[in-house]
Symmetry: C2
Subunit: 361 residues, 2 copies
């Protein structure tokens, strides 16, 4: 690998900062996750919120994914435009504007959505009426994150009943996003909710689990039929920290130039919070791993400045040096940019639009 | 003000989350900052990194601004395309790709740039040669932030000498971005550096200070000729916290819908870190001020979920309610979206592109 040549070419052809993905690593990651799902006997329904690219979604489908997951209508619209025909929106959708868009999507592709309350269910029924066809709905269940999702099997059964009674909706099953250490609680929740809806005469055809860190838990939830993971296509420092990836699995790096070295022990990078974001998690030191100078730290950002602490470095980068940074959280970095620069090893391939970026809703 | 009607119309016409600016407040903010600069006898050179809109830059110029400030070439290119003719890039630019773009800009509009080291100065001279015309350069001085900028008057004088000796460059003066409590140190630094460059036969025609919180310090630095402030066009929770703005000065709010209420004391908003970002500062509680429910807290985000703590609320928003959020840091929120929804009071005006968003470099 001639990384120095690649750095020069990227700086010359795309400038810095640049968000670069290695397609060899991307393809390896896609194959690895598909194999994990195949081995566990669950369908792979990758979450495209990370990459936002119909081109990469198509690679995931080609590798064996059963469909894709989106977090919002705008992502689903871009994916449908890009040829995706089986889309799950794992989010409570509501309101007249969104129901109109959902109905239009239903007329083009196979759609499934989630709901955790009767108000959302009521709106989804309107979308089904507008579309003139039935809509599959799963009940989102919260087994510990305290985010969206009903908190108890009783509430799950109540939402399932609302779906059953709504015109045009088809109860399809349950959606889970369990904390990684809550498999037993999740199983109990799921079993109770499943028994309850069966008593109502409903069939559970979908049990969707999620999360890249939960790939290690595949197969542990009895009854799970599919898994939604997003970050695993690129990986990041958070995935390194939780053991879900190795450095070789990190497909995305941000190329950045050192623009200031006003004192011996510090410097400034041209990537700041408007490129890398300030996202972090407990246990992560600083805002990115600099592959070329792993002893360097990025203690803070301003919008276009990355603060470099070089005090622990034996070799310190000078003004003009390009470095490669593995970001803390890759999903939000992709959301900052309109295009990826694509490479294979040390060869530039070209560009890939982050097509669904900027779709706020 | 019929805010409930406005909320319904925005949700119906633009969906949520939506980033909304009130043009009446924007215009008031522009006039207020211009008046502050006029009163202090310094030129107003607003930083467009906040709004990224040539339309708003034109309003600032019409109100009396002498030119604009950009943080990167991509912003300057968009502003030049939009009719701006006098642009200061307050950032160390370097590298062959950027020098080519800088030279092209120099051929179209009046450009000034900053430098804090001889390597950048050397590259800037190449841009001047490419453009076939001289380039004004100011020396960036750091008087306490430890970001970019030379740390001592001696270093400032050395960079000024490098500018003087470089073919095609014209030493124009100094750029400051002083900590708000470092006026005395900044004055000493500036006086020493000024004396040093005068000894060299150089004239100081520009002393550029910066920052919205430093608007209260206008007039305190003797010799300052202009001020660069960005956030003051919209303001945010950080500006409220530091006393640089009142709630009436906050022109930008994010409209967001409550999508889940799985438990009595909590809820979920459809605006998460991909809309509002996780940026914060010491002393700020949570991730935004909800105007409609000021006792509600936003303790954390995931990408498309805003976690709502409603435990202190007497009236708690139900699923479907639209709320308005003043973000913690408005500059990074604007950087997430491709358009603003514009209003005046409770009337929708239309949309305004965030034209320079997505220009990474």
């Amino acid at each position: 690998m001639n990384i120095e040549k690649l750095k020069r070419e990227i700086a010359l052809n795309y400038s810095t900062p640049a968000v670069v993905i290695d397609l060899d690593v991307v393809e390896r990651n896609i194959a690895r996750v598909q194999a994990l799902c195949d081995k566990a006997g669950v369908a792979n329904r990758p979450h495209i919120k990370t990459h936002k690219s119909p081109v990469l979604a198509a690679l995931q489908r080609k590798a064996g994914a059963s469909g894709i997951t989106c977090q919002k209508l705008g992502e689903a619209e871009v994916m449908a435009d890009g040829g995706q025909d089986d889309i799950f929106i794992s989010y409570n959708l509501l309101g007249e504007e969104k129901m109109g868009r959902l109905a239009k999507l239903m007329q083009r592709v196979t759609m499934r959505v989630a709901a955790d309350n009767p108000i959302v269910v009521g709106d989804l029924a309107k979308a089904a009426t507008l579309a003139g066809k039935p809509l599959d709905v799963v009940v989102e269940c919260d087994t510990g994150r305290k985010r969206s999702g009903v908190e108890s099997p009783a509430d799950a059964i109540a939402v399932a009943r609302a779906i059953k009674e709504a015109e045009g909706l088809n109860f399809a099953g349950f959606m889970l996003y369990p904390p990684e250490d809550a498999m037993a609680e999740t199983q109990t929740f799921l079993d109770t909710a499943t028994a309850g809806v069966r008593d109502m005469g409903l069939e559970v055809t979908v049990v969707s689990s999620g999360g890249t860190p939960n790939l290690v838990n595949l197969g542990k939830i009895k009854g799970a039929t599919e898994h939604r993971a997003g970050t695993c296509i690129f990986n990041d420092r958070m995935m390194l920290a939780c053991g879900a990836a190795t450095l070789e699995d990190c497909a995305l790096t941000v190329y950045s130039t050192v623009v200031s070295r006003a004192a011996p022990e510090r410097g400034i990078l041209d990537a700041g919070s408007k490129t890398l974001t300030v996202e972090t998690m407990p246990g992560l030191d600083g805002h990115g791993l600099i592959l070329d100078h792993p002893q360097a730290r990025i203690p803070k950002f301003s919008e276009e400045h990355g603060f470099l602490d070089l005090s622990a470095c034996n070799e310190r980068p000078g003004v003009g040096e390009v470095v490669r940074i593995v970001p803390n959280h890759v999903c939000v970095v992709c959301n900052m940019v309109d295009r990826y620069v694509t490479v294979r090893g040390d060869e530039i391939v070209g560009e890939l639009p982050v097509a669904a970026r900027g779709r706020l809703s």
